[in-house]
Symmetry: C2
DNA sequence: GGCGCGTGGTAGAGCGCTCTCCTGCCGTGT
DNA sequence: ACACGGCAGGAGAGCGCTCTACCACGCGCC
């Protein structure tokens, strides 16, 4: 790459036409004589021309990227920062988000810039990046209900779409799941299986989704003669699922059915159950949530409430596209329906 | 964002200096009178100025991004494309790569653009993106030994660094692990535990790393009186680990120690072992590879050969930086040492 | 036959920044 | 006192592209 890259000018000279004509051919805009089109294309071929993105961006004020931000709320120290990315991607959930986003972006020749915003410093960097025109908008996945990033983005007037309804109302579009229905689905399945002593391991109760999954689960059980359901709070990790299950078992050894608010915790719960001599699903039935990859890789394979993460992520990207193009100005929300997937654990 | 964003010109006017001076203050280049610096900074504050990346890129010919490419070798159909991302990130390995890369990039205000290159079409797109100046270079993680992308990149003269030595020699820098030593470490540990009938589940034997882990394992055992070691080939997934373990067990029911070429397969092997009534580690000891997050979340926790993926990824980013800056012109390789991490499975 | 009109092309003005060159002004040495 | 080096700040030329004019030309129309 030592010698200068060819420019539009070079191609134009080579083809014997003007810069504008070449530009039109490249961008497929306006009518250009087929013969000339061919001429130009041949010249492009010969010169090995590739349009300069920076120059194009400068005039169109559009990039070919969107920021894909995984956001926390903490004040993590510098040393913890790298670990954040590792930790985040340890949950198969994020891989699915990436898959969904890329699925929408790719056919449009757009690409995601990966950013992490778990500290005030990092959040500033994200906003700065957007303001400098590094990306056209942001797709935000928060890991914490008090995440200040959405408000920052909305305040800066940047196009942004969230995964899940923000803790505090923010004038931004988002996609979400009917979590309450998910809880209901889990309850109904446990009931149908004949569970008499259901319990649940929730996600962090500060998270709205956890609250709603619990509410759906609880309400459904209450309606079927189970006014009091043992509850233990977890943190969406395997370890927290183990701890929660252990405490549940200590206080309610007769538990015969557990709904855990995600698959990772279900995995932990199953392990603890086994360690305590319970067979799953014979002695205790376990229903997870998400239908992530671990649901099929762990044994027994998990019966779980499916969250269509890829679809949700793709929709998120579509909404952002609309906002960027100006085709949509009002914040919108799209809510997806969960679905029960029956496997071996319940 | 309806009204025009402020430009250098606006700040200059506001501060009563020239554009060049403002630019110098912003970029911290050359000496500028402290009083004037202050004046300019205040003007920036007031106007809410943010430098336009596109304009800057146009003249400096440098972006603030590098491509982080996960690459395959296949001709996957369109419908499989989205799944590729999901599948890739189901392995905790990639999350660690991202963590390491971001750890290096972030302090330098650089960001990774995530790209997937599992089809010829997608590979072309990656090369085109780089040639158009969308990113300054590429960090490539191949999932397949015959991946044509490295050669494409080298041919185009694009700065690029690979994770793992490429199948065919390519004049590109890379980082890698001393896989052979890893195999040796596993063998030695199994031997020390008193295993009499060791066996191994390898990765895809087309992958050099799999070959070397196997060679290291085999050679060490041979040197200690085990000239023949049962081998089953896996595919680095939980399922393939299960299948491989099952076949191993069928032919060699007296196996008392297994080295699996990654942790995911170790997890699968443990499950199959359990299903066949073997206790781990009492009846059969299992040593994994990678020290990924599953090593500590699964039960029993895995004894495994640690691969310092984050460090390796960070080094990859550093090498790329050097190449981009021109501080390094010759392809270089950096080889890391594996380390045995003893937990419960062996 | 002049005129409007659609078609296919050119010319050239920016987009916002960096960076080289230049100028004016000090301090210093002889 | 004067030449001169060094340094701070300004002027202005691009970087490579898009896009709005604008022009040339041929056609059908009254």
């Amino acid at each position: 790459m030592s010698r200068q890259a060819p420019t539009l000018e070079d191609v134009a000279r080579e083809a014997g036409v003007s810069r504008a004509t070449v530009s039109r051919v490249v961008n497929g805009v306006r009518n250009v004589d087929p013969a000339i089109q061919d001429l130009v294309r041949r010249a492009i071929e010969r010169t090995g021309y590739a349009p300069n993105q920076a120059a194009r961006q400068l005039v169109t004020r559009r990039t070919t990227t969107v920021a894909l931000v995984v956001s926390g709320a903490g004040d993590a120290s510098d040393t913890e920062q790298n670990a954040f990315a590792t930790r985040v991607f340890a949950d198969p959930f994020f891989g699915r988000v990436v898959g969904g986003v890329v699925g929408h972006l790719r056919p449009r020749r757009m690409h995601p810039v990966l950013m992490f915003a778990e500290t005030p410093e990092a959040r500033r960097e994200v906003v700065a990046y957007l303001r400098q025109g590094g990306a056209d908008g942001a797709l935000v996945v928060s890991t914490h209900p008090d995440d200040p990033l959405p408000a920052l983005l909305a305040g800066a007037g940047m196009p942004a779409v969230l995964f899940a309804r923000p803790g505090r109302p923010v004038p931004l579009s988002y996609v979400d799941l009917a979590h309450r229905d998910g809880g209901r689905l889990a309850a109904e399945h446990l009931l149908e299986r004949g569970c008499r002593r259901p319990a649940t391991v929730t996600g962090p109760l500060a998270v709205a989704a956890s609250q709603e999954r619990l509410a759906g689960f609880r309400d459904t059980l209450a309606r079927h003669g189970h006014p009091h359901v043992p509850v233990a709070e977890g943190g969406f990790t395997v370890d927290s699922g183990m701890a929660a299950m252990a405490s549940l078992l200590a206080e309610h050894p007769d538990t015969d059915g557990v709904f855990t608010a995600n698959d990772l915790m279900a995995q932990g719960a199953v392990q603890v159950l086994r360690d305590h001599g319970r067979r799953v699903p014979q002695d205790v039935a376990v229903v997870g949530f998400d239908d992530s990859s671990v649901a099929v890789t762990c044994r027994p394979r998990l019966t779980t409430v499916r969250q269509p993460v890829e679809e949700m992520a793709a929709t998120m990207a579509r909404l952002l596209d609309d906002h960027i193009k100006g085709a949509r100005t009002e914040p919108t929300s799209v809510i997806f329906d969960p679905e029960l997937v029956v496997r071996d654990s319940a």
